[in-house]
């Protein structure tokens, strides 16, 4: 997913890394199916984004036109919708505030990951390597293992120091929701909701670059009652 985001908004991201807020929200049912939501909030930099979109290029890189972005988002939605095991794909794009909300249902996390991988490969016209796209979710019915795709961090290596400094204002929130109670989890920064069904890890985008393991978490659920 992040690969898609970075491909789509590459030009913009390099310039407005400062205030990006990402919410990565997955709801997992006991049968392994679920809902994936991914929200990108760029509203803190909307003036800057509008300024950038008015340009042809920035720092030697072509700036995508708003129409191109809309077109790519629509194409992504169509292609992902056609994948088996993926349904109810919806992308809510607010070009006034620059808030983008992606949502889809999936039959399993494996299906979700391979569907996104295939669509991204298709749209980028290139094969993703293992390093580009290792699995960031795994579920065995008892525990969920989450991480961040390598590509997210690879891209940040290309950022200039001033851009990295600006990332201090950005945030990344990872939420995992379940149908049964959470027994325990390994990430010490994670929080459990009062109803004990949800786990959230929130970190600054800058901290995440400094320590890519910040969002990694293994969440163990209580056993299923027969």
């Amino acid at each position: 997913m992040n690969r898609f985001v970075f491909t789509l908004f590459l030009g913009l991201f390099m310039a407005i890394t400062s205030c990006v807020e990402i919410i990565d929200d997955i709801t997992l049912k006991n049968d392994g199916s679920g809902t994936f939501k991914y929200t990108i909030n760029l509203s803190s930099s909307k003036v800057k984004i509008k300024g950038i979109l008015a340009l042809d290029s920035l720092d030697g890189k072509k700036v995508p036109k708003l129409e191109d972005i809309k077109e790519k988002i629509a194409l992504f939605k169509t292609k992902l919708s056609s994948k088996q095991g993926i349904s109810n794909v919806n992308i809510d794009s607010d070009y006034e505030e620059f808030v983008f909300k992606f949502r889809c249902d999936f039959s399993s996390v494996t299906v979700l990951q391979s569907a996104i991988k295939e669509v991204v490969e298709d749209m980028a016209n290139e094969k993703l390597t293992v390093a580009d796209y290792q699995e960031w979710l795994s579920w065995d019915g008892q525990k969920l293992v989450r991480s961040i795709p390598e590509i997210t961090l690879e891209k940040t290596k290309n950022l200039k120091q001033e851009e990295i400094d600006q990332l201090k204002l950005g945030s990344y929130t990872s939420i995992s929701r379940f149908e049964r109670l959470v027994d325990r989890f390994e990430n010490t920064e994670a929080k459990l909701s009062s109803n004990k069904l949800n786990v959230m890890v929130k970190t600054g985008a800058y901290s995440l670059i400094q320590n890519p393991n910040l969002l990694e978490n293994t969440i163990y659920l209580t056993p299923l009652k027969n």
């Binding site: 909030n41 803190s44 909307k46 003036v47 509008k50 006034e96 909701s193």
Partner: protein
Amino acid sequence: MSRPKAHISSRPLQLTLIFCAFLAVRTSFSQRSEALIPKDASTVFSINNFSLLQKISIDDLVKYEFMEEVQQELFDGSTSGKTLKDSGIDFDQKLNVFYGKDDDFEVSGFTFGVKDKQKLFSVFDDFALVESPYEGVEYYTSYFNSLLIQGTSALLIRVEPSMESVDAVTDSIWFSRGNRNPFEQFDTYEEPENESEDEFLNELQNEVDAEESDPLDLEMLTGEDDLEQKNYYELRDSVQMELQASLMERVCNELLIRKINLVTFDNRFAEQLTHNSEAIFYLDNARSLQNAQGLWYFETMFPSLYQDIKELYSGNVMLGDLMLHENSVEFVMNARYGPELGSIYEEMNDARFDKQVLKYINKNNTAYFTYNIDMRQAYEQAYKVIMPILSDERNLRISTNVLTLELLNEFVDKDALFNTYKGSMFGTFGGIKKIKTTKIVFSYDEETFEYVEKEVDAEEDMPVFTIGFTTERSDIPEKVLKHLSRMTSRFQNKGNYWVYEDAILEAAPLYMINRNGLFIFTNDEDLVVNHADGYGEEALKGKEAKKCKKSGFMYGKIDWSTTIEKFPKDFFSEKQNQVLDAMRGKTGNMELTTSETTKEGTRFDLVYYFEGSYENSGKYLLDLLNSIYVMSK
């Protein structure tokens, strides 16, 4: 009593005269590097105080854009860890970098003094000695360039024929051999209409399959029947090589046999070379006009008009001096005009300074400029000079345009037009200010971690600009503003000023002040709300204000450290950013003043006053020269 005295005093005089004569003879007869600059060079900069560069590493030097022609020669490890001092170059001679272009070819390179050939060829190690057709000249060549050494001076040169001339000669040979158009098979492509991506890809695949079974029509690219004959591209390569050799010979013959070089060809350049500044700059605008891509249409469609425009530009040359002082760097540029263009500039720049603008320049502005021109006078003079040229053109389109211009000249109320827009203006940069905006935030429910979005107030950085124009007819822009306010509620009259909501990037308001003989655009809310009639005590006053008034048609000042770092790069082109990048990290003030403009020219004086001292003056010099080169090329 007087004779012995005269006799005694005449001896030192004689010795002095002999010594001077010796120096004169030595200077006249010794070969200097500038004598190897081809007359075809239209842009030259010469570094006089070459010794400043001794500490510069060659690897750093060749990274500059003005050295791009020799980069292939030097970026091969032969220069690693070496400075210019190790390169065998004679620092007592000037280093002259040149570039020129005309319809037929492009010439570039540099000339310099040679002190130690062995060391020189440890740097230029790709050059091989070839038989020289010129007496007393050693001739070396590499894959890209030629190096000629005459006495103690060297010329590194590259000559490239223009693509147009190569195409013209190639086509001429190709068709004279009875060949068909080599691109015929590519002319049949038609843009598909409303084709889906899949359909397009399928079609492409079918074409590839078809081509595999029916390979490319080789006869198109080769001579029809004779496959031994060169194909079009091979022929083109051969033509290019031949033209290059012939042009190189032409340039060298002119330089080394006929002894014609830029110094002998243009006495303005020769005079500029006598200056004692650290570096001099020469740009022949008349010849550089040919490089202007926008004029190719005129050149093709209206050749006689193009010739007239060229003549208008004749004599138009920029001569510059770069001087390094203890706490400043000064760049003096003399723009010399030909009589006709000069007469237009003279009239245009003969404008009275509008004191009102000073009220709106805050003394704390980090950058500002004033620009005084008289559009009415410039128009009248340009009409006088340009209309006869256009009228002579026997072309229907030009004649129609001439008639339109003549009618407009009769019917349009020029008083109203030029009193509304007189031409004088000012601009300021007030740094970065926070503007009020909104943003979306997500708040989480602790029970479920569900989140909802809400809009909250926020602030974003925005560069603050003000730009104002002198007007004597404030009623005319007022009419336009009133009309616009009737069209949209985003346009509002606020009494002392007008506001256009969300005009800038659909997020920030643009304000307009139409008072005191000025029409001002700004995004500075403080200016319009609190200082609609000017800054009062905070306005530019005293010495600084006097400088604006005294300068010719233009004055500008920038607090470099606070402006350049904050100035958004997005506002500038790639070239302009290269110049700014060279200046980033440097502190101090930069000031531009101009002289009165005469028919002959205008003098621009750009002084950069820096704080402390520069650690490496050579690097400074190169940064500045490269900036000038990038801008002028």
